[in-house]
């Protein structure tokens, strides 16, 4: 990049539109040094500020931050112009236009805004700045970007001069030494900016991308490495042993079934042979039952007969009893035996003392004596007494015998019937049994019973087998599912392997990239160091060269110096030496970044000489123009002496443009273009003032 001109419009001290054109805007220019001469407060730093505002829209400089000016409002608009416009209730246009060329294309960037000062309150309002960029390309075509493409404009400018390293090139001499004592955040910023400048940013981007890629692969890997594979394998093992168990059980049950079926078949075979005899068998069994029950009946009838033996014992006396009854009856009829009534009547009459005719009996009366006599006659006769008793007993015995005779007869006849039946059944039973049955009936029945139990067993086993088959089908289905899952898990597993491979690859790439970066950085740093030291040697004065051996570019691109003893010496050096070191590094950086050609970034120095020794100043003035495309020097009268810096610079033949910042009134500066030869005149005027 080579700066062509900067146009300020009502920007800070610069009233109206004022312009500075820069030496060395073309590579063909012999001279490349522009000196802007002005006392403090005239607007040197404003020029620097205008550059940063024009390129990046910065309203504040780093030094503003250092000076804690954040709180106070810094207006960019020119106050005189604001006042003039406010009298007519008008606002003003404020802006900076920078024209530069880069890679044979011409750029014009313009950043501008409206500002107004209220007449009544005196308050100042500044709009947000807008930006526009025009590029005249090599082929003469023009590209125009306006505020709508502000981002693109930003990108384009950053690609030409990275925002992060702007302070290296557009620096304030007072601050240049900050390079050697930056904060960590600034260091990292510087580092990235330098990397970008060195065009190794892409390598870091690649490294970052690979690292992110590795992270993502790891996340994916974690997602698919859920342990399901292991779990599934376990489940498959369980399922397999379950299936084996079921199959074994089915085998056993089938064996049992076959055995039971064979047994049943054998029995059926036997039973089939005797099946035709089944009716006979049934009959035999029935006969058996009947015989048993008949025998029981016979036994109970016999028991009854035994019970009847007391009656049987008197049975043969029946005729005798009957005969005696008749005999006694005869005697009674003949009066030999008093009737029961007669005897009872006498007792009754005597007890009640009444006559049979109803009259009362009195003791000693005729009737009473007659009765007593009658009774006496009866009582005294033993015959009559026994006869009466016997007569009664015989009568009851007779009826008893009659009754039990019938009972015994009935029993006998029942017994006879039972015996007859029994004989019939027994005969039939023996007949049937003899026939063709070789197996005993009971064995036969056992066979039937066994067959029955076998049938039950077979049904049971079949049911169990069915259940087992169902279980097996279920287990096999489960196995299919598990195997399907296993397949998909295996795919995942393969995927895992692929991911692992990827990770390995990415890791390898990263390592390789790191090596490359490290080597590259090492080389770059080493080159930077070499170049910086080379420049340093040209710039450093005698006393410095006796103390300081070498500049060291540290890991984060910050700087240090070693003394001749190889010890870090930065803390002990002077501010001027610091400035020389930083300057050496920056110019070295520009050279290294530019590769074979010089990096085309102008070096913008604000009051660089203040802290430098005369030797340093001479060295600087002699050497810088040879290694930088454009050198813009903002100087005060005290540091830019006619016979020293001015002379040295003129002697180089590189000094092209000379501007004098004239204070018109308080806060108002006018840029006047002079020639380097006009310096003595300026000095004269100053001396007079």
């Amino acid at each position: 990049m080579r700066l062509e001109r900067i146009i300020l419009n009502n920007f800070k001290q610069y009233y109206g539109e004022q312009m500075i054109e820069f030496s060395g805007s073309s590579s063909n220019d012999q001279s490349n040094v522009t000196v802007v001469y002005g006392e403090n407060g005239r607007g040197k730093t404003t020029l620097y500020r205008s550059l940063l505002f024009g390129f990046y829209g910065d309203r504040l400089l780093e030094q503003d931050e250092y000076e804690n000016n954040k709180e106070s409002i810094m207006y960019l608009a020119n106050l005189k112009a604001l006042d003039e416009a406010s009298t007519e209730n008008q606002g003003i246009d404020v802006g900076v236009t920078i024209e530069f060329n880069h890679m044979n294309e011409v750029y014009r960037v313009n950043r501008y805004f409206k500002a107004i000062k209220k007449m009544d309150t005196g308050e100042i309002y500044e709009d947000l700045p807008s930006v526009e960029l025009t590029i005249i390309e090599k082929d003469g075509n023009t590209k125009y970007f306006d505020e709508a493409n502000s981002e693109e404009i930003e990108n384009i400018i950053n690609s030409i001069l990275d925002n992060r390293v702007k302070n290296y090139f557009l620096f304030d001499g007072e601050r240049i030494e900050d390079l050697t004592k930056a904060s960590n955040k600034q260091k990292e910023n510087i580092r990235r900016g330098i990397k970008n400048l060195l065009k190794i940013d892409n390598l870091f981007l690649l490294k970052q991308a690979l690292e992110e890629n590795k992270k993502e692969i790891n996340i994916d890997l974690k997602k698919i490495s859920s342990g399901e594979l292991k779990l599934n394998i376990l489940k498959i093992e369980e399922n397999e042993s379950k299936i084996a168990e079921i199959k074994n059980e089915i085998k056993n049950k089938t064996k049992e079934l076959t055995f039971a079926e064979n047994q049943k078949e054998d029995i059926d075979h036997t039973l089939k042979k005797i099946e035709e005899h089944r009716p006979i068998l049934d009959k035999i069994l029935k006969l058996e039952d009947d015989i048993i029950s008949l025998k029981q009946k016979q036994k109970s009838l016999n028991q009854t007969l035994v019970e009847l033996t007391p009656s049987l014992s008197v049975f043969l006396a029946k005729d005798l009893v009957e005969e005696l009854i008749v005999d006694l009856e005869d005697k009674r009829v003949r009066g030999e035996v008093p009737s029961e009534i007669k005897t009872e009547l006498i007792d009754k009459l005597l007890n009640e003392m009444s006559c049979i005719c109803g009259r009362e009996l009195s003791i000693g009366s005729e009737e009473y004596e007659n009765l007593l006599d009658w009774k006496k006659k009866s009582n005294t006769q033993v015959y009559e007494k026994h006869a009466m008793k016997l007569f009664g007993d015989l009568k009851t015995t007779f009826s008893h015998v009659n009754y039990t005779t019938e009972t015994i007869s009935d029993n006998l006849s029942n017994i006879a019937k039972v015996e007859e039946q029994l004989e019939l059944y027994t005969n039939e039973y023996e007949l049937l049994s003899k026939k063709e049955i070789q197996v005993s009936n009971k064995d036969m029945m056992k066979n039937f019973e066994y067959r029955e139990s076998l049938s039950n067993e077979i049904t049971k086993i079949r049911y169990q087998l069915n259940s087992l088959e169902e279980e097996l089908v279920f287990a096999q289905k489960e196995r299919e599912d598990l195997e399907k899952k296993q397949k998909s898990l295996n795919v995942e597993n393969e995927l895992q392997a692929q991911y692992q491979g990827k990770i390995t690859l990415v890791t390898k790439s990263l390592n390789a990239l790191n090596d490359i970066i490290q080597n590259f950085e090492k080389e770059v740093k080493s080159e930077l160091e070499d170049k910086a030291n080379e420049i340093f040697k040209h710039l450093i004065d005698h006393s410095g060269s006796t103390n300081l051996k070498k500049i060291i570019v540290k890991e984060n691109y910050t700087l240090d110096v070693l003394d001749w003893g190889g010890r870090p010496f930065l803390a002990n050096i002077s501010a001027g030496q610091r400035q020389i070191i930083s300057l050496s590094f920056i110019t070295a950086l520009a050279e290294v970044a530019g590769g074979s050609s010089i990096l085309e970034i102008p070096l913008f120095m604000d009051t660089p000489f203040g802290r430098l020794s005369p030797d340093h100043r001479k060295n600087l003035v002699n050497y810088i123009p040879t290694i930088t495309p454009q050198w813009i020097l903002l100087v005060t009268g005290s540091e830019f002496r006619e016979e020293e810096e001015g002379k040295f610079l003129r002697d180089t033949g590189k000094w092209g443009k000379f501007y004098y910042l004239k204070s018109v009134s308080e806060g108002l500066t006018e840029i006047r273009e002079l020639t380097p030869e006009d310096l003595p005149k300026i000095k004269d005027i100053e001396r007079k003032n």
Binding site: L305, P310, L312, A317, L320, A387, L390, L412
Partner: protein, 158 residues
């Protein structure tokens, strides 16, 4: 009849009484009590008009008070008939009544053995008899039929 009298049978018949009264699986009892066989023997002897003159080497079989009222009456009737119908005083002499009964019974047993029990009778050296039978012998039925058949015989006193 007041106090109970001892009733005797020939000693050699005692076992037969016992055997026929004891209930065994192989040989079910035929009589519940000794008195029933005793009375039966007595009526058989009387029916066939046969009685012993005396009771040789006898042994007590039972007490007279175990007879039921019908057996008691029958035994009296037999005694009465034996002494002639008109002498009712014998009814006052129980010992006489039972003595007559024992003599008939003795003969009755002899007849029963001869007619029914003979196949099953075993005699020991001292002349004691025992009876060995089983259910198939149907002894009781045989007895009953025998008794019934005797009843068909006309009354010896007719």
């Amino acid at each position: 009849m007041g106090l109970a009298e001892r009733i005797f049978v020939q000693k050699r018949y005692i076992d037969i009484f016992r055997e026929l009264r004891i209930d065994k699986q192989s040989s079910p009892r035929i009589f519940k009590e000794n008195k029933d066989l005793f009375v039966l023997c007595c009526t058989i002897g009387f029916k066939l008009n046969k009685r012993s003159n005396e009771l040789k080497s006898s042994e007590m079989l039972l007490w007279s008070n175990t007879f039921d009222e019908y057996q008691e009456t029958v035994l009296k009737a037999i005694a009465l008939k034996s002494v002639g119908n008109s002498d009712l005083t014998i009814l006052d002499k129980p010992a006489k009544v039972y003595q007559i009964a024992q003599l008939y019974a003795d003969k009755g047993m002899e007849i029963l053995i001869e007619e029914i029990f003979k196949p099953y009778i075993k005699e020991t050296k001292d002349g004691t008899l025992s009876i060995v039978y089983n259910e198939k012998a149907e002894l009781l039925e045989a007895l009953i039929h025998y008794v019934y058949s005797l009843n068909e015989i006309s009354d010896p006193f007719d």
